[in-house]
């Protein structure tokens, strides 16, 4: 942007050569340390042999080399530099974390061994078992998608009905008050017994967990719409349908998204429990399977994948919200 201030980061090269990205240099050092720890000390492998220790050391060394290169070149490529600049401290911390993790597990066994695994074991898991992990992710996603879509859709309609129609509210409100706060997992034994398959039972449970917060927040959203908004539309010739679809729904949308967010969190919990207890697929099932075989590496690997999946889905929801609610001031960034 500014070309007139000679003392900023983007000062003319001639004044500041060599232009070093200092935290990049530190990151290179941290990753080199991690590579060194991995390579130099022997694995304490009384219980397990790790086949990937050597490769992992090389990989870390390569990352260190890449940071070294970046440290001296990133500033020359402003678009690249803008991207990596803010992340510098994290790159350093990550390298140090890997070095420490390596040391306390594989190298010096400071943490009880079969329960805490070194990073190279996760790599082994991903290498050997990626097919089954991938299938588990797909199974979980598919189950979640069905249950969440069903719950969000029905919850939204119920909330709209509660907020709009006193007659619907007369019947739905007491039922919701009684049944809604019950954790969906409490239905688990009954659901597996009543539904023809564990998949349909879990879909129902996830829908239940999602539907309640979505319904309550849609309802409160519709109920809190400024009544003047309806007056304006009515004097301009709007009919009932327009008032619902073009006034109540968009006005309630910020609340609806809070409900969708809470529902997504609740649906994760039910998903994992349902998969651990009844469904014979998915990441929850993978976790309990790994536990059964004392395959701790697989557990960490699956947990990491699950964290990425859940975080990714929430990011997706926030992206959608940012698009639909761009008219709002000060929306929270995820």
């Amino acid at each position: 942007m500014s070309t007139s201030l000679p003392l900023t980061d983007e000062a003319p090269l001639a004044l500041r050569w060599p232009a070093v990205w200092w935290s990049g240099l530190l990151a290179a050092a941290a990753w080199a340390l991690a590579a060194y720890v991995t390579h130099h000390f022997p694995d304490q492998s009384e219980i397990v042999e790790w086949t990937q220790t050597g490769n992992f050391a090389v990989a870390q060394a390569l990352v260190a080399a890449a940071f070294l290169l970046l440290a001296f070149t990133a500033r020359l490529i402003p678009p690249l530099f803008r991207r990596v600049q803010g992340l510098g401290p994290w790159f350093v911390a990550l390298g140090l974390f890997l070095a420490a993790w390596q040391a306390v597990t594989a190298k010096f066994s400071l943490l009880p061994m079969p329960f805490f695994v070194p990073p190279q074991q996760l790599i082994e898991v991903y290498q050997d078992d990626w097919v089954r992990l991938g299938e588990s992710v797909l199974a979980s996603l598919w189950l979640l998608a069905r249950g969440y879509a069903l719950g969000a859709g029905i919850g939204f309609l119920v909330g709209l009905g509660l907020g709009w129609s006193p007659r619907f509210g007369y019947w739905a409100h007491p039922v919701m008050r009684l049944v809604g706060p019950l954790p969906a997992t409490a239905w688990l034994p009954l659901a597996f017994f009543l539904f023809p398959s564990s998949a349909s039972a879990s879909t129902f449970l996830i829908a239940l967990a999602t539907g309640f917060p979505v319904a309550v927040l849609t309802w409160s959203g519709v109920a809190s719409v400024n009544p003047d908004f309806y007056d304006v539309a009515r004097t301009l010739g709007a009919k009932q349908r327009f008032l619902v679809l073009k006034v109540a729904v968009p006005a309630a949308l910020p609340h609806v998204f809070v409900g969708l967010f809470m529902g997504l969190g609740a649906s994760f919990a039910v998903l994992v429990v349902a998969e651990m207890l009844g469904v014979r697929a998915g990441l929850g099932w993978y976790l309990s399977w790994a536990q059964g075989w004392a395959a701790y590496g697989n557990m960490y690997a699956a947990l990491l994948v699950m964290a990425l999946m859940c975080s990714g889905l929430i990011t997706l929801l926030f992206k959608l919200r940012d698009r639909l609610l761009s008219w709002q001031k000060g929306v929270v960034k995820w």
């Binding site: 007056d231 004097t235 010739g237 008219w327």
Partner: protein, 267 residues
């Protein structure tokens, strides 16, 4: 370039303004279980094309009267007729500009102004009217802005544009210029008179500003404190454009202020 002329109705249309007839209208609200009388036996008529200003102390019931005329609420007692037909509900020929702009925050200025056409399914064929109305109120550069990006006065003008798009036969204005700075206000007063003269709709204007009422209206109705009764009707027999230092207008101003009970304060 869209001109404001697009907003003018074709020569062959119905008589432009509605006739208004309020007969012994009384109204009350429930406040903590007690009835709160707001309007007390108000009888008022307006001929087609007339510009009637309503003046009264704050909280006396002016906005309530406008709500009844708009058809947003039925009166507790009495009857309201527009063009001889009883008012049973809102109708797009009677458009209200509310005291608050109440723009929809999720719609751009353009889409707010388009609200009436959209609600009646006319938007596709009459998009030009929206542009014309925005040009008229001086917001054509802000068509794609959101309400939170507008100043108070701009929001008021957007609300005015939203009303004008619908070619009202009765324009109901509840302090529409209340939030404008004095310069914009003077300009908008002129615009309002020109628009009214061109389209000849009947206008009902609530204002706190005695001078504004006298500058714009053909007749000024003065209300008592709540519950509102009509205290006096003052015809303003002055040609347009009017000037605030016109001796006749100054005289009328003193008269109306006296009716409002503040005659002495301004000497």
């Amino acid at each position: 370039m869209v001109s404001a002329a697009t907003l003018e109705r074709p020569a062959s249309a119905l008589p432009a303004g509605s006739a208004l007839d309020l007969r012994h209208v009384s109204h009350a609200y429930q406040l903590k279980g007690e009835p709160l009388p707001v309007l007390d036996d108000v009888s008022l008529t307006a001929a087609p094309g007339e510009f009637v200003a309503l003046l009264g102390p704050s909280g006396c019931g002016k906005s309530t009267l406008l709500r009844l005329v708009a058809g947003l609420e039925p009166p507790a007692r009495g009857e309201l007729f527009v063009d001889g037909a009883p008012v049973t509900g809102p109708d797009p020929s009677r458009v209200v500009v509310f005291q608050d702009p109440t723009l929809y925050p999720w719609r751009t200025v353009w889409r707010n102004a388009a609200l009436g056409l959209e609600a009646r399914g006319l938007l596709k064929s009459q998009r030009g009217r929206v542009d014309a109305a925005l040009t008229l109120v001086g917001l054509d550069g802000f068509a794609s802005a959101y309400p939170h990006q507008l100043s108070g006065g701009m929001a008021q003008r957007a609300a005015l544009a939203r009303a004008l798009v619908n070619e009202p036969r009765l324009l109901i204005l509840d302090e529409p210029l209340g939030k404008l700075d004095s310069l914009t206000r003077i300009a908008m007063q002129g615009e309002l008179v020109r628009l009214w003269q061109r389209q000849n709709f009947t206008t009902l204007l609530v204002t706190h500003d005695v001078e504004e009422a006298l500058l714009l209206a053909t007749r000024v109705v003065v209300f008592s404190p709540r519950p509102a009764r009509i205290r006096a009707e003052v015809p303003v027999d002055l040609p347009y454009p009017r000037h605030r230092d016109d001796p006749r207008l100054v005289e009328l101003r003193r008269e109306v202020l006296a009716l409002l009970g503040v005659g002495d304060a301004t000497g």
